[in-house]
């Protein structure tokens, strides 16, 4: 259809050089050839004349150019921020879920040095889901075996086990009731392997919401940092994209 409505250039060797009319460095004879070409070529004359009409129309405000939207660079940046933010948020949440939480012991003023032997999982005052948790502690030099006791502060529940390694899982035959506070005592044999005869800690069991809230508040510091940065980037990206789309 355009074949019947759109002009064709009569001599493309010159038509392709039409832009040189704007160039002040174009030799005079070339300018003369191009201008003469325009006299005969409807396609090139149209292009040249439209340029002139466009210039006068814009200056006289009879024509307007569409309002510039935010640069594509900004849109790309917002899109990138959204993607990177979502990825970082997911990575942060995964780290919070997988890595050990920060022990409240760190924030307490204790006389024990940071590298003193201790129960390492659950960390002090950690909230876990209950069931059959795994317990772990710092291996003690000279200890042949360990006697582990988990006792509820709020009920009669008590479980004991013995192991030669520095970790143990609560037996499948019992399950820690939810919503209770527990005290863990690890006593090595011989008992002098531990500085004070045994290692002690406390933790709690709770429902999923309580566990998630605890993890968000006390999860791995690096995980929380990555997650927070991701959430901020995601928020910025989404808001930026919404604003640029509205414009």
């Amino acid at each position: 259809m355009s074949d019947r409505t759109h002009y064709e250039c009569i001599d493309l060797r010159l038509g392709d050089e039409l832009w040189r009319l704007d160039d002040p460095d174009t030799p005079r004879d070339m300018v003369a050839r191009l201008e003469r070409h325009c006299e005969f070529c409807s396609a090139c004359r149209l292009r040249r004349d439209l340029g002139a009409h466009l210039s006068s129309g814009l200056k006289a405000k009879r024509l307007t150019l569409p309002v510039a939207r935010p640069s594509s660079r900004a849109r790309i940046l917002f899109r990138w921020a959204t993607g990177a933010g979502a990825t970082a948020l997911a990575a942060g949440l995964t780290m919070i879920a997988i890595l050990p939480p920060v022990s409240s012991r760190v924030f307490l003023h204790t006389r024990a040095p940071d590298d003193a032997p201790a129960v390492t999982r659950p960390v002090s005052e950690e909230i876990i889901a209950g069931g059959n948790p795994s317990l772990a502690w710092t291996p003690l030099e000279g200890a042949r075996e360990y006697e582990v006791s988990v006792r509820s502060v709020d009920s009669e529940f008590e479980w004991t086990g013995t192991t030669a390694s520095a970790d143990i899982a609560v037996s499948d035959e019992v399950a820690l009731p939810q919503g209770q506070r527990y005290r863990v005592t690890v006593t090595p044999t011989p008992s002098y392997a531990a500085p004070s005869g045994s290692l002690r800690s406390t933790f709690r069991t709770g429902n999923l919401r309580a566990v998630a809230a605890y993890r968000l508040a006390s999860g791995s510091r690096s995980g929380r940092f990555v997650g927070l940065a991701g959430a901020l980037a995601l928020l910025t990206g989404v808001l930026g994209m919404v604003v640029t789309r509205r414009r």
Binding site: Y7, I10, D11, W19, E39, R47, D49, L50, G51
Partner: protein, 213 residues
């Protein structure tokens, strides 16, 4: 065989052009004899049933071809293609004219056809011209908008525009402007012909630097 006859035809045409440029007696008739047939055939094919104007368009196109040749100090292009294209552009003008003014007087059409400098813009009233231009502007890409704004509205020096676009020469700026105007012209012609945006298929991107250089 075909190749040989084509070669002979090109040779004949080159000799005829040379004779015409040397102003030898009868050279114009000889040259016109070589290009008349393809122009006539192309015009007939374009106009179809509207054959009343075939002879006028062919005649005007041949005259325009000779005038074009007169102005070129050295012509090495395709003269047949050039004359056929002139004729086809005149056919487009005629079709547009008749589409817009079906009751036009025969005499005025003849006069208009005889003037090679007439074109589509002359036949549009100013308001219609700007309406179409405004619509066509909306079909251009953002790169073109930015460039046209910088050159026509903000009147930023070409050198500054070049730097802003990251081009190595100002010629690249001129070339890009020409490409934008070409796109504008194409959309514009589609609008004048009453075609939809989808058919025109515009909004093309800017060429990369160096496409012209």
């Amino acid at each position: 065989m075909n190749h040989d006859s084509q070669h002979t035809g090109e040779q004949k045409l080159a000799e005829a052009i040379k004779s015409y440029r040397e102003r030898r007696p009868g050279a114009d008739d000889q040259l016109l004899g070589l290009i008349r047939e393809p122009v006539l055939e192309s015009t007939r094919r374009f106009l179809g049933d509207d054959a009343d104007w075939t002879d006028d368009i062919v005649q005007e196109s041949l005259v325009a071809t000779l005038r074009y040749l007169d102005g070129e100090t050295e012509f090495s292009g395709d003269l047949v293609g050039l004359s056929v294209t002139i004729a086809r552009n005149r056919c487009r003008d005629l079709a547009r004219w008749r589409g817009r003014r079906p009751q036009a007087e025969v005499e005025s059409v003849s006069e208009w056809l005889a003037d090679p400098q007439q074109n589509i813009l002359d036949k549009l009233v100013e308001s219609e011209l700007f309406d179409h231009l405004q619509t066509a502007l909306g079909h251009l890409g953002r790169d073109c908008h930015d460039l046209l704004r910088a050159l026509f509205l903000d009147e930023i020096p070409t050198e500054d525009v070049r730097r802003r676009l990251g081009l190595s020469t100002v010629q690249g700026v001129y070339y890009r402007k020409a490409v934008c105007l070409e796109q504008l012209g194409s959309v514009f012609q589609g609008l004048v012909a009453g075609r939809s945006r989808d058919e025109t298929g515009h909004g093309a991107r800017m060429p990369r630097e160096g496409a012209s250089e």
